[in-house]
Point group: C2
Chain length 188, copies 2
């Protein structure tokens, strides 16, 4: 299944170009496994979830460690009608994306529990749009229930769910799900 993301990094600083160019090196370890193409609005990442989300996390953490107030905004999609399948998008292992929602939540929670801390504290918000599910609200409520018990729940908001905590577990809550998310490092 073709999958990937459009991501944008916004350092709130006069030297935003320097900070972006400095942190983009964090994507170097992923250049063999992800298709990466940048334009003036966003950077396209195409590949498997097991590479996609760590790449996004490492890029954001590199920028946040500059000490600048910065945001990573990402539009993540599993599936892209009109695009052919791409072998690089196939996960190397079962990612637990099928089956009853309770089973998927348990697999997602195990990944959050296993996530390594980065030392970078973030606040974030997340929306999930399961287009291919007829009972899409059941899917959305399932994701909200998962987030409430994830250990990084930051409270409800209209149209999205707030998360807060270390970037490691926060980014892991999104891994292997189709989602749209906006993420901001807390003001220091």
């Amino acid at each position: 299944m073709y999958s990937g993301a459009q991501i944008s990094l916004y350092p709130m600083a006069d030297d935003f170009v320097g900070i972006i160019l400095g942190s983009i090196r964090a994507l170097d370890p992923y250049r063999q496994s992800l298709r990466i193409e940048a334009d003036d609005l966003s950077t396209l990442l195409v590949g498997a979830p097991e590479q996609l989300f760590p790449a996004m996390r490492d890029l954001f953490v590199a920028a946040a460690r500059s000490g600048t107030h910065c945001v990573l905004s990402a539009c993540v999609s599993r599936g892209c009608p009109g695009e052919p399948d791409d072998p690089r998008c196939t996960p190397s292992t079962d990612i637990g994306a099928e089956g009853p929602i309770a089973t998927r939540i348990a697999a997602a929670q195990a990944r959050v529990n296993a996530a390594q801390a980065t030392g970078v504290s973030v606040a974030a918000q997340f929306s999930h749009y399961p287009l291919s599910h007829g009972q899409y609200m059941d899917e959305i409520y399932g994701v909200i229930d998962f987030l409430k018990n994830s250990g990084v729940f930051g409270g409800p908001k209209n149209f999205c769910t707030r998360l807060a905590g270390d970037a490691g577990p926060v980014f892991s809550t999104w891994s292997r799900r189709s989602c749209i998310s906006a993420r901001r490092r807390r003001a220091t």
Copy 2:
């Protein structure tokens, strides 16, 4: 129907707080008709599309006129299951949101044609997630066809559609639709 947006303004400058606080005054004319609540991640706007999109446009244009490279990111939703209806979300006139897609496209194009120029040039990208449509790809392809002929089409991208032009017609392409969009002023 409960409707609104979570919006975030990202000026890429050391003085991002000053630029945000200066441009937020552009929302003052809308404070009677919109519910507006800010937190550290985004600002919630709740109200009718006829107020919502002009408010977003005016906020962005005010910030962009500072000369700073800045981005407005918005998650816009028509409907919010779990929230009660809110009278302020009811449009004062028929907004052409019902009926065959060809009719809706014609109404949307008329609004774009009537949009006043702001003098601020923008590049933008837009994704549309029609959750409540069983044939969601028909809706998405309809929106893409509309954008291609809107006069502000900027080219295809994976997972979104690029727009470019004056902020007036660009923002008007989104008006009265459920959407997710990210918008960036061109680097000057």
